[in-house]
C-alpha cells in the first residue's frame, strides 16, 4: 500500500473521505498559486488545520529575532503563514465521547504526525501540535476510518458541540442530554445554513442548571435540560440560552426560551444559524460573534426573527428522527454493578477516591476522572488508557472541559483495581476539579496570540500545590484556577474563582511577562458570573499572589461563604491591597529572573532595545499617564462593585481617554484635555495610521473608545457598565502594547 487513502478506502465514510480528497486538491492548488491564500486559510481552518506560533517564520531566541528559513520557497498557507511551518490540528470530539478504538488511532497519529502528545482542550477537543500541513489529509483519513471528522473544528462554523461529561450518569440531571448533543452535532455538521457565518458558533448542553459542567451561559447557544407536564404527559425540552461568550469582553447568555420543546431544538438551531448568517457582522471580525448581534437587536427582537425564520423552514425529517430513540439512549457497562465494600485499598486510593470518583445515579457504578496535567497525555498513556477503558468501562469514556478524561460505568467494586492500573501508567493524580487541577490554554507554547506562558504558570502552580495537597484547607481545595495566555479567554479565566490572563509590561526597556489577576468569577450554575481584572502582576510573583489570596480566604472567610462571596464582601480595593506590593517589578540587575517567563529561559524582553534621551523622557511621561489610566479603571471596578453603574461607565471611559492621551503625548505633548480633541487626535495619529492596531485584533480596541465617545449610553445596567469596564481594561492593555511597538520601532532610527 502506498497511501492510507488506498489502505483505508473501505473503512472511511465516503463523504468524509471525499472531503479529504477535496482538501488535498485545494492544497495542491494553493501550492501552485491558483488558490488565494486567504481563501485557503479559511478552507484549512474549517478542517481543523490551525496556524501555530512562529509560523510567520520569525522567532525571538532570547537574544535576537531569528528568521526561520523554512524551505517553503515563498509558498504560504495563509497571510503571513509559511507553508512548511508546523501547525496545530484540532480534532472535534462531540460531547467528548470517544471510544477505545478511536483513542488508539489518536495515539498513532500523535506519534507519527505530531510530537507524541495528545492535548485535551477546554471544549472537549483533542489537539495535536507541530503537525506539517502535508500530513493532514492522511491524518484526516485515518481519523475518518474510526468515525472522527475534523470538519468545522475551527473557522467560522459550528465548533465542537460540548456537553456535561456526566450526562446520563449524573445524580442531579433532568435527563441525559447526550443524544441531543450528538444529533445537534451531526445535523449541523456541514449544513448549508452554517457555512456563511462571520465568526464561530459554539453550542453546549447541560443536564441541570445548578452545576457547572455544561457552562451554558458562556456559549453562543446553550441548552439546559428541563421537563414539564403537558396534558398529563411528561415532556422534555430545553431552557435555551443565546449570545453568551467569553473572549476579550465576556457576555452572559440571554434566555431565549424557558422551555423549548425537544422537537424544536434542531429547527431552532437551524433558524438561529440562518439569522446569524444573514444579519451577523461579517467585516468587523471583532464584533462578529452572535453575542454582538443579540446585544444589538435585543433578545426579544432576535427571538422574533429566529421564530419567523423557523416558520419558513422546509420540514426536515432529521429534526425528529432521533427523538423516539433519545429517551432510550443507554450505554453498556462492561461489569455488573457492585458496591465498594471490603476490597483492599491501595496506598493513595482514598485521596484519589475523594476527588476523582463520582458515584453515579445508577447504584453500584461510578465515574472516575483521569486528571491530565495541563490537559496532556502521551501516546503511550492514551493507548494504555484505551485498554483500561475496555477493561473497566467498556466504550464509556469522555473528555471534559476541565481538560481531563472521565471513565463512566465503572463498577464500584473495581475502583481499587482501576486506581492501580491508572497509577501504573501515571494517570492516578488526585485533585480532579480542585485547586490543583489548573486549566490553561496553550498560551505562548504554541498559540500565535499568547502573551505570557499560561502553561508555564499552570505547571508551576500545579507542582507547588500538589506537594502540599493533603494539607490544603478544604475551603481552598475546592477553588478553580484558570489561566489564559492573553485576554482572549481560551483558558476561561473569567469563570474561575481565581483567574489569570497574560499581559506584558516594559520596565526600563526590558519586557516583563505579567498576568492580570481576575477575581470573582463563578464556575457553578453553568458559569453564572464573570470576574473582573484587579491588577497586573509580574508572572514570577503570581504564586505569591495565590498564597496570599488563599491564606486570607482561610483566615477571614465567614460562615462557609464561597470565594466569590468573600471577594464581594471584602471588596475589590481590599482584595487588591493583598497583592498590590507584588505588582512592582524589581530591576533587571536585582532580579533578572523576572524578565523571563515560567518554564522558558529566554529573556522575555527584547534585550537589545535602546532608549534614547528623547524616548526616555517620553517613556517616563507615558508610564506616568498609563499608571493613571490603570488607577482610574480600577476605580471604575470599585464603582461597579458598589452598583454605581453610571459611575463605573464614566470612569471606564475616562480611563480610556487617559490612556489615549498618554499615547498622543508622545507626539503632541500639549494635547488639550477634552474628549473631542483626544479622540480626534488619537484617531488621526494612532488609528488611521494603524499604529494602534493589534497584529491579530486590528483596530478592535480603538473602537471601544470611539463607540463610547460617539454613542454614550442612555441607560446604565450592570451588563453594559461591566462590559465598558472590561473594554477599558483591554484598551489600556492595547495602549501598553502600542507603546512598546513604538519604542521598538525607534531603536533602529537611533542606532
Amino acid at each position: 500500500m502506498t497511501s492510507w487513502k488506498e489502505k483505508l478506502s473501505d473503512k472511511m465514510d465516503p463523504e468524509i473521505g471525499r472531503e479529504a480528497d477535496i482538501y488535498e486538491t485545494q492544497m495542491e492548488l494553493r501550492k501552485q498559486g491558483r488558490l488565494d491564500e486567504k481563501i485557503f486559510a479559511e478552507t484549512r481552518l474549517r478542517r481543523g488545520v490551525y496556524g501555530q506560533r512562529y509560523d510567520n517564520g520569525q522567532r525571538h531566541d532570547g537574544i535576537r529575532s531569528q528568521e526561520l528559513e523554512f524551505p517553503s520557497d515563498g509558498v504560504t498557507k495563509g497571510p503571513e503563514t509559511v507553508w512548511d511551518a508546523p501547525g496545530m490540528q484540532r480534532i472535534k470530539i462531540p460531547y467528548g465521547g470517544v471510544t477505545p478504538e478511536q483513542m488508539e488511532a489518536l495515539a498513532d497519529l500523535a506519534e507519527e504526525y505530531s510530537d507524541g502528545i495528545l492535548h485535551v482542550t477546554t471544549r472537549q477537543d483533542f489537539q495535536l501540535h507541530f503537525v506539517h500541513i502535508d500530513d493532514t489529509p492522511e491524518l484526516m483519513r485515518r481519523l475518518a476510518a474510526v468515525g472522527i471528522t475534523t470538519r468545522e473544528a475551527c473557522g467560522n462554523s459550528v465548533r465542537n458541540v460540548t456537553a456535561c461529561p456526566l450526562a446520563g450518569v449524573c445524580r442531579d440531571e433532568v435527563f441525559d442530554v447526550t443524544p441531543y448533543a450528538k444529533s445537534c452535532s451531526q445535523f449541523l455538521l456541514g449544513h448549508p445554513d452554517v457555512q456563511d457565518f462571520g465568526r464561530k458558533f459554539k453550542i453546549a448542553f447541560s443536564g441541570c442548571k445548578e452545576h457547572p459542567c455544561g457552562l451554558i451561559t458562556m456559549h453562543d447557544m446553550g441548552g439546559i435540560a428541563v421537563k414539564r407536564i403537558e396534558d398529563g404527559q411528561e415532556k422534555r425540552g430545553f431552557e435555551l440560552y443565546v449570545g453568551g461568550g467569553l473572549g476579550a469582553v465576556p457576555h452572559q447568555a440571554k434566555l431565549f426560551d424557558p422551555f423549548l420543546p425537544e422537537e424544536d431544538l434542531l429547527p431552532t438551531a437551524q433558524a438561529m444559524s440562518r439569522v446569524f448568517a444573514r444579519l451577523g457582522e461579517k467585516t468587523n471580525r471583532a464584533r462578529a460573534r452572535i453575542k454582538f448581534l443579540v446585544a444589538k437587536l435585543g433578545v426579544e427582537e432576535f427571538r422574533r426573527l429566529v421564530l419567523e425564520e423557523r416558520d419558513k423552514l422546509k420540514e426536515d425529517s432529521r429534526w425528529k428522527d432521533y427523538l423516539e430513540e433519545a429517551p432510550l439512549y443507554q450505554e453498556t457497562p462492561v461489569k455488573e454493578a457492585a458496591p465498594l465494600n471490603g476490597q483492599q485499598r491501595p496506598e493513595g486510593f482514598e485521596e484519589w477516591y475523594d476527588t476523582n470518583v463520582y458515584r453515579q445515579r445508577q447504584p453500584g457504578y461510578a465515574a472516575a476522572s483521569v486528571t491530565l496535567p495541563l490537559g496532556d497525555l502521551s501516546a503511550w498513556q492514551m493507548r494504555e488508557l484505551a485498554d483500561i477503558t475496555r477493561q473497566f468501562a467498556g466504550e464509556n469514556i469522555r473528555t471534559t472541559v476541565e481538560q481531563n478524561m472521565m471513565l463512566r460505568w465503572v463498577s464500584e467494586a473495581d475502583l481499587p483495581d482501576l486506581y492501580q492500573e491508572l497509577k501504573r501508567v501515571g494517570l492516578s493524580d488526585p485533585g480532579a476539579g480542585s485547586i490543583v487541577d489548573v486549566t490553561a490554554c496553550p498560551g505562548t507554547d504554541t498559540c500565535k496570540l499568547g502573551i505570557s506562558s499560561s502553561r508555564g504558570l499552570a505547571n508551576e502552580i500545579r507542582k507547588s500545590l500538589a506537594t502540599k495537597f493533603v494539607e490544603i484547607d478544604e475551603a481552598v481545595k475546592g477553588l478553580r484556577i484558570k489561566i489564559s495566555g492573553c485576554f482572549n479567554s481560551c483558558g476561561q479565566h473569567h469563570i474561575a474563582d481565581i483567574g489569570f490572563y497574560g499581559t506584558s509590561r516594559t520596565i526600563n526597556s526590558h519586557k516583563v511577562p505579567h498576568f492580570q489577576v481576575v477575581l470573582g468569577g463563578q464556575w457553578t450554575e453553568n458559569a453564572a458570573a464573570y470576574g473582573l481584572a484587579m491588577g497586573s502582576v509580574p508572572a514570577k510573583s503570581i504564586p505569591k499572589v495565590l498564597d496570599r489570596l488563599t491564606e486570607r480566604f482561610v483566615q477571614f472567610r465567614q460562615n462557609g461563604e464561597s470565594f466569590q462571596t468573600f471577594v464581594s464582601t471584602v471588596g475589590k480595593r481590599e482584595m487588591r491591597s493583598m497583592f498590590e506590593d507584588l505588582m512592582k517589578v524589581p530591576s533587571y540587575e536585582q532580579a533578572p529572573s523576572f524578565y523571563a517567563d515560567w518554564g522558558d529561559p529566554r529573556e522575555f524582553s527584547i534585550g537589545d532595545m535602546g532608549t534614547g534621551e528623547c524616548a526616555g523622557e517620553v517613556v517616563s511621561l507615558i508610564e506616568f499617564d498609563m499608571a493613571a489610566a490603570e488607577r482610574i479603571v480600577f476605580e471604575a471596578q470599585l464603582k461597579l462593585e458598589d452598583e454605581d453603574y453610571p459611575g463605573a461607565d464614566k470612569l471606564g471611559y475616562e480611563a480610556m481617554l487617559e490612556a489615549a492621551a498618554a499615547l498622543i503625548k508622545t507626539e503632541f505633548l500639549d494635547v488639550p484635555n477634552n474628549p473631542e480633541t483626544i479622540v480626534t487626535e488619537f484617531r488621526r495619529r494612532f488609528y488611521d495610521t494603524k499604529l494602534f492596531y493589534d497584529k491579530y485584533a486590528g483596530g478592535k480596541f480603538a473602537n471601544y473608545l470611539f463607540r463610547r465617545y460617539e454613542s454614550p449610553p442612555t441607560e446604565h445596567s450592570r451588563d453594559t457598565s461591566h462590559r465598558l469596564v472590561e473594554e477599558a481594561q483591554l484598551f489600556i492593555e492595547a495602549a501598553h502594547a502600542c507603546r512598546e511597538r513604538i519604542a521598538e520601532a525607534m531603536v533602529p532610527l537611533q542606532a
Binding site: I63, E111, D115, P373
Partner: protein, 192 residues
C-alpha cells in the same frame, strides 16, 4: 520498503545524575546557534509532566530531538520527519550520524559536565510510519540486512545482536545490543 521516517535512541548511562529541566536551556541555546547541520531548529517544549512522553523536546523542521522518556528510560531520541535522499542504508547512516552528533553536543554541554554520558551498547531504532513499515515479521526480515550492514560497520562483524518485539499496536522497533559501550565520538568516526 520505503524507509524514511526513522529514528534512533541512545540511552543515558546514569539518569539519576541529570535533571530533565537542565535540557531546556541547552536546547534553547542550540536554536540560538542553529547548531545542528542541515536542520532548522524551531522551538523547545518541556513535557516532563507526562509519563513516557517526549520529555524535553527540540522541534526542528527536518526531525525532532528529544530527551525522551519512552519506555521509562531517559535517552536522546532523534527521528526524521521529512524525507531525505539516498539509498536506504545511506538514509539510516545519515539519521544515525545526526543522533550521535546530538549526543556528543549534549555530553559536551558545560551545564552537564561530568554528569551525562550516553551508552552505546544498546541502540533503539524506531520506524515512525505504520503504513510503510508496519510492525510485522516481513518488515523485520526486510530491515535486518540493512541493520547488519550498518552495525557491522559500527561495532564489527559478530559483535552485536538485533531484537524485534512483535506488537501490532506499537511502531516497528528494533533494539541493537553490542558487546561493549564505546565513546559516542568513536562511533561517529567509524561512520565517517
Amino acid at each position: 520498503m520505503e524507509l524514511q521516517r526513522l529514528g534512533f535512541k541512545l540511552f543515558v548511562d546514569d539518569p539519576a545524575k541529570v535533571a530533565l529541566e537542565n535540557f531546556v536551556p541547552i536546547f534553547h541555546s542550540w536554536i540560538q546557534k542553529q547548531i545542528i547541520e542541515e536542520h532548522l531548529l524551531i522551538d523547545v517544549h518541556n513535557y516532563g509532566h507526562v509519563r513516557q512522553g517526549p520529555g524535553v523536546l527540540l522541534v526542528a523542521h527536518q526531525g525532532n530531538f528529544s530527551m525522551d522518556l519512552g519506555g521509562d528510560r531517559l535517552g536522546l531520541f532523534y527521528y526524521r520527519k521529512r524525507d531525505i535522499d539516498g539509498s536506504s542504508l545511506e538514509r539510516l547512516t545519515t539519521i544515525l550520524k545526526t543522533t550521535l552528533r546530538a549526543c556528543t553536543l549534549l555530553e559536551a554541554a558545560p551545564e552537564l559536565a561530568g554528569k551525562l554520558r550516553f551508552k552505546t551498547d544498546e541502540i533503539l531504532i524506531v520506524a515512525n510510519d505504520r503504513l510503510h513499515t508496519p510492525n510485522e515479521s516481513a518488515t523485520y526480515q526486510a530491515f535486518k540486512p540493512l541493520l547488519s550492514q550498518l552495525f557491522a560497520e559500527l561495532f564489527g562483524e559478530g559483535t552485536f545482536t538485533t531484537e524485534w518485539r512483535e506488537d501490532d499496536r506499537e511502531r516497528f522497533a528494533v533494539t541493537v545490543s553490542a558487546n561493549q559501550s564505546v565513546e559516542v565520538g568513536q562511533l561517529i568516526e567509524r561512520l565517517s
